[in-house]
């Protein structure tokens, strides 16, 4: 059998209708989902579908239904066993090829050429930087483990790692799932960057609340709240990252004359919220009705000036509406410039397929085993149900035969170059080669 060709292999479960899978002879990536089942059974079923080969290296669980996450986790463990590294979190909707927003999705990858280390930090609130640093240590552990394995393979069991020697798994990524209800995500990323630096791309997103209107995370055997979890993956094949949002700058920039992290108090020395609405010629109700404002601002983000572009910031939060401030997850640096960002359904949809394509292209010709997608929940609101289905169709179309699974997030993480890595209203796609 040609190990590198796309070869459809019959699922061991014989269930080709409910799962997509793709397995290369040795390395594999599988995805499974379940809907309208009890928690344990949902976890079990989705896991059975995801496990498409031997030696699973990592399980990633997304849960959107109002199910007991402990029950789901137990169901997953009941099928996968206790030892497989596992991370997961809540989401308001899952992304699957079956276009099922609600349910439990399980992603699994395994086979030779993968090394995984996971970590968690809890609590996150009031210690975001430390939490991010704590989680990022699994990437250091990963580097050490890979180095030790390489040294052992090269020089025997007693040989030490040789930094100058080429690594058997030179491609690494740190997948982070933060808590969308916790503030200051940029601090979490800053903490992680302080540990790993530019050595490892950071990919992931912030957990959004499930139907239970709360967020949770999974790590190992545990369900956690107010936490951040991470999985550092080393691979012999490359990873690819795609990031698109579909917004563009319009008009003249405004000066951020007073801000505190993600809370913007004044723009151009005037109350931020009023200035923002005036610039957009907002309807009068937006000035007085927070729900009208929220709906209005949801599709009118701000863009923070960055080198070569702008970081998108969703300012539809009504946290400080009555104070007349704008608020978002993600830094809006005082003294900097912000732009009004414009976009529509067309540009947002176009970004979806482009993001997957960018991730695929980033594999430098290596066939993808699968895709993980982290899509901003505000894009789902903008696109609505029909638009969302179209978005997924475009994404899956670009994914080809490789499974694509993901979650809707309240903030996206993608750091591949430079220091910045936190995004809003953006689609981030990780391609696993």
């Amino acid at each position: 059998m040609d190990m590198t060709a796309d070869t459809r292999i019959a699922s061991p479960a014989g269930d080709e209708a409910d799962s997509e899978y793709r397995a290369i002879a040795r390395r594999w990536f599988g995805a499974g989902s379940a809907r309208s089942l009890p928690a344990h059974e949902a976890g079990a079923q989705a896991t059975r579908q995801a496990l498409r080969g031997a030696d699973p290296a990592l399980l990633v669980v997304f849960c959107s239904e109002p199910l007991d996450p402990a029950g789901v986790l137990a169901g997953v463990r009941g099928v996968a066993g206790e030892q497989v590294p596992l991370i997961g979190c809540s989401t308001e909707a899952v992304i699957t090829a079956q276009d099922e927003a609600q349910g439990v999705s399980v992603v699994a990858l395994g086979g030779p050429g993968f090394t995984v280390r996971t970590a968690f930090a809890q609590p996150v609130s009031h210690r975001q930087r430390a939490a991010g640093a704590r989680v990022a240590t699994c990437a250091l552990d990963l580097m050490a483990a890979v180095g030790a394995a390489d040294a052992a393979a090269a020089g025997g069991a007693t040989a030490g790692p040789d930094p100058s020697a080429p690594s058997s798994q030179p491609h690494q990524v740190l997948v982070m799932l933060t808590d969308g209800l916790a503030p200051d995500h940029e601090e979490v990323l800053a903490g992680a960057y302080g540990v790993v630096g530019a050595s490892v791309p950071l990919i992931g997103g912030s957990a959004s609340p499930s139907a239970r209107r709360r967020t949770f995370h999974m790590h190992g055997q545990d369900v956690l709240e107010d936490a951040v979890v991470g999985a550092a993956i080393a691979s012999e094949a490359p990873f690819g990252v795609g990031l698109r949002h579909g917004w563009h700058r319009v008009g003249e920039p405004m000066s951020v004359t007073h801000s505190v992290n993600g809370d913007v108090l004044t723009l151009d020395d005037r109350p931020a919220l009023r200035t923002y609405l005036e610039r957009l010629d907002a309807p009068p109700e937006a000035y007085t009705d927070p729900e009208v404002f929220k709906k209005f601002a949801n599709i009118r983000p701000l863009g923070v000036d960055r080198r070569g572009g702008a970081d998108v910031r969703d300012v539809s939060s009504t946290k400080y509406y009555r104070q007349g401030w704008l608020s978002c997850n993600g830094e809006v640096p005082e003294g900097g410039l912000v732009w009004l960002m414009a976009g529509d359904e067309r540009s947002v949809l176009a970004a979806a397929g482009d993001a997957v394509k960018d991730a695929r292209d980033d594999l430098d010709g290596v066939p993808p085993l699968g895709f993980l997608a982290f899509d901003c929940a505000s894009r789902r609101k903008l696109l609505k149900e029909s638009g969302t289905r179209e978005e997924i169709r475009l994404m899956v179309g670009q994914a080809g035969e490789a499974p694509l699974v993901g979650m809707y997030t309240w903030g996206e993480i993608a750091r591949t170059r430079g220091i910045h890595g936190y995004h809003n209203q953006t689609l981030v796609v990780l391609a696993i080669g």
Partner: protein, 784 residues
Amino acid sequence: MPPTPALTAQRLAEFLAALSGVPDGRSLARVAAERAARALAAEVAAVLAADGTVTASVGFPLGRVPATRLAEVAEGTRDEVPVPGAGVCPAVSVPIGGESPGHLLVARSSGGSMMPGWSILDESTMDASIVDGRFTVDELSLVRGMARVLELTQHTRLTLQAERRQAEENTRLLRSLQVRQRLLEQISAVQRAITRRAPLPRILDTITAGARELLGDDVAGLRFRDPDDPGMLLLVSSTGIPEEKAKRVWRLPIEAGGPAASAIERDELVVCDNPAELVPFASSLRTAMAAPVHENGAVVGSLVVGSYQLGRRYHAGDRELLALFAEQVSLAVTDAKTREAIVAAYHDSLTGLASRALFLDRLEHRLAEARAAGAPAPAVLFVDLDRFKTVNDSLGHAAGDLLLVGVAGRLRDCLGPDDTAARVGGDEFTVLLTGVAGPDAARTVASRILDSLRAAFPIHGGEVFIDASIGVALGTDPGQDAEAVVRDADVAMYHAKQRRTRCELFQPAMHDTFVRRLAVEANLRRAIERGEFVLRYQPIVALNSVAAGGNAVTGDAVVGLEALLRWQHPQRGLLEPAEFVPIAEDAGLIVPIDRWVMEEACHRAAGWNARRPADRPLTITVNVSARCLQQPGMPGVVARVLGESGLPPQCLVLEMTESLLVHDTEATVQRLTALRAQRIRVAIDDFGTGYSSLAYLRRFPMDIIKLAKSFVDDIAVDPQASAVARAIVQLGHLLHLTTIAEGIEAAEQLDRLLESGCELGQGYYFAKPLDPEEVEALLFSTGG
């Protein structure tokens, strides 16, 4: 899109805003590195110190910062660094000036766009540098700007820190000044109290309260060694200690003295934070500090402060403060003692009158002033109390002290404001009169004093009467010093006492008399040593055993002998008692003389009785002086003499005058009772001539009354005298007292006495006072 200079300014503004909120220098470098990386969308940024060490960096994995490579970029020898995950990155470094010089370094990956996918939408805004990663001129300008902002921020932070430190220092200084101001006020208050001679307790309370206030502690106390028992400590001042507690711990053994005792024993400041040791003072004290207190360099106590507060620590400043207050206590105590010493040196502690030293000093000044101004000389009165010793011995020393205080007060009342009264001896006073015109004016004052002293002194619920003798001397002799004037007044006083004139003005002749007296005194002392005293014995006869019409006395008629003292003066011959006994009494020599008389007489009598029939022993009568009778041990002495001589006590008769019985009656009765208990007999001489009171015949234990010679002299010629003599004899019979008539010199007197029933008699009619040989001849040659 704004032009790039505006972007640079915007980025700098972001950078400045981010650094402005950083609280400390350590975080400043880290934030600067992060913000620099963000501003330039770089993977790596670092702040290096002047020596090339990395102060802070971002973009390298933990523990894998290539410090050497970064230092080379800072030196300018390298313009790129390998960055794990980003490849070899172009790097730029700019110097940072100011107080913390160094470098700001940024390294950014090259190739490809900053954000995948943006190039499609933002081509029009994309710099070429985005493609190759090299830093543009504007970006270099931005890095320089950030370095400058970092420098300024560091400078501002350091300046603010310095200002904060200065402000803290100013606050500390202000607080210190306030404390010192309060300290100064407290010390000044103490000094004022000392200077104004405030009572020592008040001064000590001021110090204790001040120490507690300034140290901010809960209790303060001052402990001194008990002068009567150095093993005990007294709480002489306290504040913050409940009154009941203070009373309970007022006196503690030094072993239980805690830090107060430690400070005293070690003579150094001590701190105690063992609550168990502090329980005696206040049960909840957590810690205490004590400093020694000195008086003229010797440790006498300690000043203690204590706190109930947990964690109270006594720092160097607190210790200095307590030591300072302890020093104030030392000064106050030493000053008080010095004053006491000064006062004691110049004033009599009992009466408050001037001391002899002060009196002489003032007299010298007055003499000099008068002589220089040609003014009348000052006068000196020497006042000696009569019978003070009797009062002192009979009523006790406390009563004697009260009497002296009363005398001092009356002296002051008699004097003018410029006069001075002094106590120069036990019952001797001197008065300095200034502005007196002459001796008469001085006499007038002396009379006033005498009259004042004659009034009753209320002592212990009773009344005491005394008298005085005053000598007056004027300092008219320009060659005399103060001592000489006082000596003259003393001589005049002695003269007054001898002559019982109460007040005498000094005459030079008195000096001669006084000198003679002093000579007699000196000779008397030597007479005792040389044995110049002799006894003469006058026979006492049974009157009915004398042959009628005759005066021949046989030994059988002699029933007793009265021992009479004589002084065989080497120059002046045999002297009668009247010539030396008063001097002996004044000189305090009479007691040993009396004792010698008693010993000699008892031995003689015992010897003679040994040669007589045992059923007819002789009695020996010995005259007892007032001074001798007043000796508390007198009965014991008499008993010893009897024991040593072998004379039976019933053969001894102690003769005393009536006047002796008037003073110190209780003690006199006790002694007489003790003597008679030894079967010694007591005779009253010159009965009926003195302070005779029939009441004391009942009160005082006596055996013999001696009819005075004055009654015997007229018994034969004066019927009244005869009647009185008979009455006395019969009184004696009624009271079972033996009567002895004295001074019988004629037969007619003998007859009258026999008629009146008088049993015994003595006088020249029978025999003159005989020397021992003559006594022996009388007793044994006639068959006695």
